[in-house]
């Protein structure tokens, strides 16, 4: 038996990136102090941490507000994407109508829609942000789901025909379960996109309750370390979304990952 590579051990896989992160932070701290870098260029990690501790309640509240928009928008976009993809996979003319539209949506800088929607819904509504997130999340989920639904292997198609299965039976038993990993691949991408677009959409006015608006206003008031504290919260929020989606993916497609025992 050959020894496993040292990077394959469980604790190394956690400890190694953690050590790298700590080292980078230490280098950052030392660098800022030694070179006397001004806070408006780059505040020291210790200053950011102090701000984070001081304003933890406000940071958490802002993260919650942004997180809520991101979650609602993500779910909305993903559900619509799966339904439309399922229809497009079955109805040829619908596919031909939808495909160019999705291509157009994919290239539109969606956050740029935020000011337009802001005027439509008024400055006190969360709807513009939710819609921006939903549109941004829709695209990756739609594309991967449609691909997954088209991925039916010829042998499975033959098998369903041999059994005289109805179109709906074939969809339910073969096509949809086979597309699940593809849906989650799209969701994994969409989860980060959702958080990013929720934050950026806040830069265009409206309610001042989320991470994006706090980052903007802290920076405008020269509270650079405070702005960075909100950025840290934004990173954490993005990671939470991403990890949860990954976990859900693992749960939904256990069969595809079970190691040969």
């Amino acid at each position: 038996m050959t020894a496993a590579h040292w990077t394959d051990r469980g604790w190394v896989r956690i400890a190694a990136p953690a050590a790298l992160g700590v080292a980078a932070l230490a280098l950052w701290e030392v660098g800022v102090r030694a070179l006397e870098i001004q806070p408006y260029l780059l505040p020291a990690p210790s200053a950011i941490l102090a701000q984070l501790q001081a304003a933890i309640a406000g940071v958490a509240q802002a993260a919650l507000a942004t997180g809520r928009n991101a979650l609602v928008g993500l779910l909305l976009g993903a559900v619509v994407a799966v339904v439309v993809a399922a229809l497009a996979a079955r109805v040829r003319w619908l596919d031909q109508v939808v495909a160019p539209l999705v291509a157009a949506i994919a290239v539109v800088p969606i956050v740029a829609l935020a000011p337009v929607l802001q005027t439509m819904y008024g400055a006190t509504s969360e709807m513009p942000r939710i819609i921006v997130v939903a549109i941004a999340s829709f695209v990756p989920v739609f594309i991967t789901t449609l691909r997954g639904l088209r991925q039916v292997r010829p042998v499975h198609r033959d098998l369903m025909r041999a059994y005289g299965a109805s179109g709906w039976q074939a969809t339910r038993m073969v096509t949809m379960p086979g597309a699940v990993p593809f849906v989650f691949a799209g969701l994994t991408i969409a989860s980060s996109v959702a958080v990013i677009s929720a934050i950026v959409a806040e830069y265009f006015g409206g309610l001042q309750n989320g991470l994006g608006s706090r980052i903007a206003s802290a920076a405008a008031q020269s509270g650079y370390a405070r702005a960075w504290a909100y950025v840290v919260a934004a990173i954490a929020l993005g990671l939470i979304f991403y990890t949860v989606t990954l976990l859900l993916e693992r749960l939904a497609s256990r069969w595809a990952r079970i190691p040969v025992g």
Binding site: R153, V155, H156, D158, L159, R161, A162, Y163, G164, A165, Q169, M173, V174, P177, G178, V180, S253, W255, A256, I258, V260, G261
Partner: protein, 275 residues
């Protein structure tokens, strides 16, 4: 009544190579009869139409001309009445279903109750010797085991006809020989007729009562070799592979396969005669 009756069947495929559309005659006026309970192997080089012929019997494709009847019914009706079980070179198991759920699939599609499904699936899983793997997923099984699950699934509805398209083609030689023995045992227990596509001469001779030899461009039946059976304890016995009768049949099939490509074609191959 015969299990399969193929009468004067021609299958032409339209292919688009670049801009020019051309046609390929995959099968040219092929006739074949398989008796109930008979084991027939289809053998020939690639492109000879042996898989196409099996697909026409299964009604996975439709003939361009001629007629296919299965147990006296048109192929389409036979398919809808689940007259046959089928297995392919790829096991075609659904990876998100356990072994048991995969075997249950045809029963589930045809509305059997959960209890009946389970009872039948367990019986079949036992038959193919995978009882302890019933709750595993296909990815956890070896290729040979996956193929055994596929065979169990093909047997789910007590078919009197089994259609098999190179089911052991992707397996190693040892697994292959073991599964061949198992297939003969299962076939003896069920009494089903079998149409078995293969490109292995020893496999065809070991399994089949009759070996149908085909040639490509256009796909035709060139010869039919009746397999000599040596008197051994059981047909599934590996000792069969060592008998003179086995070797004689292997030679006969080989000559039928290669003889045609020699300078002088055989005077009157049986397939041609039949036309």
């Amino acid at each position: 009544m015969s299990a399969v009756e193929v009468a004067d069947v021609t299958k032409v495929f339209e292919t688009k190579a670049g801009r020019a559309a051309s046609t390929v005659r995959a099968l040219d006026a092929v006739s074949l009869t398989v008796a109930e309970g008979e084991f027939v192997a289809l053998i020939g080089p690639s492109g000879c139409g042996k898989s196409t012929l099996m697909r026409l019997i299964a009604d996975l494709d439709e003939p361009s001309a001629g007629e296919v009847r299965v147990f006296g019914m048109p192929a389409r009706q036979a398919r809808l009445e689940r007259a046959y079980g089928i297995a392919f070179q790829q096991s075609g198991l659904l990876p998100w279903r356990t072994v048991r759920a995969n075997v249950e699939l045809p029963l589930q599609l045809h509305g059997a109750s959960a209890a009946d499904r389970r009872a039948r699936a367990d019986e079949l899983i036992e038959l193919v010797g995978l009882a302890e793997f019933a709750d595993r997923h296909p990815d956890q099984l070896s290729g040979g085991m996956q193929q055994r699950v596929a065979i169990a699934r093909a047997l789910a509805e007590h078919p009197r006809l089994l259609l098999m398209d190179e089911p052991f083609g992707a397996l190693d030689e040892m697994t292959r020989e073991r599964l061949q023995g198992e297939l003969l045992r299962i076939r003896a227990e069920t009494g089903a007729a079998v149409v078995f596509v293969t490109h292995s001469i020893p496999e065809a001779v070991f399994l089949a009562d009759r070996v149908v030899v085909m040639s490509p461009r256009p796909g035709r039946i060139t010869d039919v070799v009746e397999v000599e059976r040596a008197p051994v304890a059981s047909a599934a016995d590996d000792a069969v592979r060592e008998t003179d009768a086995f070797f004689r049949s292997v030679s006969a099939v080989r000559e039928a396969l290669h003889g045609r490509q020699g300078a002088t074609p055989r005077a009157a191959p049986r397939g041609a005669e039949a036309r």
